[in-house]
Structures are given as C-alpha cells and as structure tokens.
Amino acid sequence: MPPAIETEGLVKEYGELRALDELSLRVEEGEFFGLLGPNGAGKTTFINILVGLARESGGEARVFGHDVVDDYQEARDAIGLAPQEFNVDRFFPIVEVLEHKAGYHGVPPEEATRRAEEALKRVGIHHKRDERFDWLSGGMKRRFLLARALVTDPDLLILDEPTAGVDVQLRHDIWEVIQDLNREGTTILLTTHYIEEAERLCDRVAILNEGTKLDVSTPEELMGRGTDTIYVRVREDGEAQTAEPERVAATTTGTGSERVADADGEPVTDADASASVPAGDRLTAIDGVESATVEDGRLAVRARNGGSTAPEVLNALEAEGYEIADLEISRTSLEEIFVEMTNRERSDRE
C-alpha cells in the first residue's frame, strides 16, 4: 500500500512569503501522526494543499498514492477534514449538512441519512440534529466538525487543532473518538498546539517551523533527546542528610548555591575542588550525563534519557558509600524540546 500522505519538495508561496519550503513528509497508512509547530509554521497550508483548498507552488503531494492535483477526486474522496474554522453551511439543519456532505462523496441518499445520524450520535449531538449550526454552542460546533469529517467514512482523517478552545471533558471525548477510529484503521493527521495531546495520541510527530521540517520522530524519541534531571538525596553514616556538595558535585561554579561539573569531568570554575570529589568524576563519566550540580540541597544530575541513566547514577553513588534517601526524575517535556528546537532553528538562521 502506498503511504497515506507523501509529499516531496512541497513549496507554497504567497508572494514574498514562503509558507512551505521544500517540505517532504511521509505518513504511513494507519498511523496517528502529529504536526507540531508555532503559528505560521505551515501546518494549515500543508493540510489545505492536501484537500484542495490551496494550490502548491512546487513539489508533489499524494494521498494514498493519488496526486492531489492530477487525481484530485480520488485524493479528496479519501480525506475527512475537521478544520480550525467553522466553515459550515448555515442554510440547513446539521443533519442535512451531513447528508449533503456524504452525498458529495457519492453516498446514496438513504445511506447518507444513516451515516449522518450515526456520526451525530458518535460525537454526542444527535439531539441537536434539526438545529442549524449557528445555534450550537462552541463545544457542539467542534463536535459537529468532527462528525462532518467522519460522515464520509474517510481513510485519512485530518484534524486541524480539533480541541482548540474546548473544555477538558470535550477534549477527552474527542480524543476517545479519534483513538477509536485510529484503532479501527483510519490514518489520523493531527495538528495541535497542545503538546500533551501529541504526546498522548501520536505515533510520530513532525515539528515544523517557518515551512520547513525540523524533525520527525516518535514523541518518546524526541523526549529522549531532551535533558532530564535526576534529583537524588543521599544519606551518609545512616543519617539522612543533604549530600555534601564537595563530595558529590565535581566542582563549584563559585556561586555557593550551585556546583557544576561538565560531562568531561573538567571543572567549570574551580579546578582544585574537583580533585577531591570522586563521585563527581564517576557521575560525569556515565554515558549520557551532561552535568552534576547541587540544587536546594539535592544532587541534580542532568542526563539524556534520565530513566535509563538513573540506575547507573545510583550505582555510582552507592559505590562511593552513599545511601540513597530519595530519588526523583524530572523528564523534559515535549513542549520544552519543541521550544528548544524551534528556537535553535531560528537562531541558526540568524
């Protein structure tokens, strides 16, 4: 099977502005794929090209192997779109809007009616079937957009910030519906500003910034690239106490409140102090550890992939005669990694 979405060197220009810059992306069939990026990153432009609401300036885009320009009918038939904006026919009750939409996709009238009723039930607004869109509450409008995307029984469901501005309950309801669909085999493309949403739902995410792809990875891999912090409180001679900075950290920064050794075990500021701190050398010698400091009386070891590094840190401390009193691992959030990546990319350009 061809991938659900495949783009090669996709370019979209609005005059001087390059909204998409040689974007190549591949989403496999059945994936739950997230598009992350700040406002103006090109997420909606990318979607609009797939569904025919924008024309690409260069490159190619295919949906299940169908070119979105040459085979636009096949490509569009495969897609269900829940956009950010409320672009719904105001002339008809919502159940009829769904019937029309199904009809445009070649669904015969009786079947279209059945699907419309089913879609409204699935998103929990069937009791509003005879209302017009304008009379729905904000949350119901969001639910309706999802129903409209579902009524054509799409192989690829595209959700452009589906939970923007909705309450927690509705967000969870929407998550449940789209997770069920994904389990049933529907490929999902989700754009979101809520990093938690991407972490929780997506198999893989692409990070876009200013029309370019910064990275594509699983949320776990991305988080593995961030620096976690392992906080350890140690007990010496059977009595709980704060780890002695000089014995734990490799060196001091000279501030008195924070002491640091870098990953090479080299002192940052005070070369003499590091020599008397064997634990610091041991810690910074561990693969993945970037630094060891003392913060608020606790040892703070910064390391990539803190979960797998923590046992080695504990072993190193115990080997030095410390008893572990408390351990806490603070994982880098995807949000922090996202901000770091987009900021880094911006500063690289500058």
Partner: protein, 262 residues
C-alpha cells in the same frame, strides 16, 4: 476510479432546496414587481398605447418581462450562492469533495437556471391573468412552443453561467448588486423589452443589435407571439455558442481555483 452522478445530484438538490425552502424570498419579489409592471405599463399606460406589430401592448410586453425575470433570478442565484459560500467558507464542503469541477459548475448552473425558469413561468402566469381579467385584450398564446422552450432554457442557463463568474469575481456583496443593477438591468431595459426595434431610428436600432439582450427578448417573444425583429435561428445559435463559451470559462475558473483557493 470513476465518480458517478450521485455527488452532482446531491449538490444540485442542495442548491435547489436552498431557494425552494425560502419560497417567499424566492417568489414574492418577482411576483410583486411584475404585478406592478403589468398594472402600470400593461394596463394603465398600455391602454393608451397603440398596438405594436399587431399586438396589444401588454401582450407585447409579456415576453420581455419574462426574460427580465429569468435573467435576474438565474444570475442572482448563481452569483449569490457561490459568493455566500465563499464569504462564509462553507463552499469548502463542496471543494474538498471528490466532485469534478464540471460537476460543481453543472450543479450551480442547473439549479440557478431552474430558478430562472420557475420565475419566468410565474411572470408569464401573471401576464396571462392580466389579459384574462381584461376582456378587451386578446389572450396570450404560444405561437412557437419549441422555440419558446429552447430560448426559455438557454437564456437562464447563459445567465447562470455569468452568475458563476460574478460569484467568483465578487469580493463584496456590493459587487453583486452592482453587477445586477448597473450592468444587467440597463442592458435588459435597452434590449427591446418595452418596445420594438422597428420603432427606433436607424442608428439606435443598429446600436441595439450590439446588445445581446435583444436576441434573448426577441427569441422569447418569437416563442410567444411568432413575431421577431431578428431571425430566431440566428439568435438561438449565437446564444447557444455564447452559453457554451461561458460554461467553459466557469469550469476553467473552478479548475484554477479562482476566488476559491489560496
């Protein structure tokens, strides 16, 4: 993979339902306007006007008013439907569907042309009612039913096609009003709705022949009365060719996404 006519029928049904469900908005304005036209021009003024080419003035007037109503409604419907959909972005429901561009255009044009035909029939009925009430006026007949049917279809189809272009070009609701009030209506009024070309002095008659509305009014008049200033076959051929050209432009504009896509 091919997509059958189900999708196009669904859009056509949606377009027709949109104006039939608001039948008061659709039919009351032409009803009232044409009752006024027939009352003032047909009865009050028409009683003081001699026959034109052997026809009572109200009978001579009727085909022109039918054309005026058909053109206005066909154009308004297509242009409004497309522009309103663009304005509120719900035309995206159509654009993101697997309908072909020609199916989209066909649905908008056929629905709008049908509205033009329905309004044309309504106006003709009003005219007939006026002649029946006034026992001194000959009843309206249909002298050339095939020509009447042909012109009655081609004229609203052509203006539905123009309406599609108008709906795509407009950037504001005022633009639609401008197109209808300042372009279409003057052309129709100077298109021999209220007079025969034979009554015009030479240069004005020649200038009038440049107005495409003349051929439409003349053709429909030929269908009703069997009288025309211009050969109806020529009118029919010219209008058919023009309609095909306009529909071709419609499809190309949809294909390019003019006014529809970024």
């Amino acid at each position: 993979m091919s997509f059958g006519p189900v999708g196009a029928r669904a859009l056509l049904k949606r377009e027709i339902q949109r104006y039939l469900r608001r039948y008061t908005n659709t039919f009351a304005p032409p009803l009232i306007t044409n009752v006024l036209y027939f009352s003032v021009f047909g009865v009050i003024l028409g009683g003081r006007i001699d026959q034109i080419q052997g026809f009572d003035y109200i009978v001579f007037l009727l085909p022109g008013l039918v054309v005026l109503g058909m053109i206005s409604n066909a154009f308004e419907n297509a242009s409004f439907s497309i522009f309103h959909g663009r304005w509120n972005e719900y035309i995206h429901e159509t654009l993101t569907s697997p309908l072909s561009y020609s199916q989209m255009v066909a649905a908008y044009v056929v629905a709008s042309a049908l509205r033009g035909v329905l309004v044309g029939v309504l106006i003709a009925a009003i005219g007939v009612a006026f002649t029946l009430v006034n026992g001194q006026i000959a009843t309206v007949t249909i002298a050339q039913p095939l020509y009447l049917a042909a012109f009655g279809l081609i004229v609203p189809t052509l203006f539905s096609g123009f309406g599609v272009i108008g709906g795509l070009l407009a950037e504001d609701f005022d633009h639609l009003t401008v197109m209808n009030q300042f372009i279409l209506r003057p052309l129709v009024f100077f298109g021999a709705v209220f007079y025969s070309l034979e009554t015009l002095p030479g240069v004005w008659r020649d200038l009038s022949l440049l107005n495409p509305m003349v051929y439409m009014v003349d053709g429909v008049r030929y269908g009703f009365l069997g009288y025309s200033d211009v050969d109806p076959r020529v009118s029919l051929v010219v209008l058919s060719a023009l309609t095909i050209a306009v529909l071709f432009v419609d499809v190309q504009l949809f294909k390019r996404g003019y006014g529809l896509t970024d």
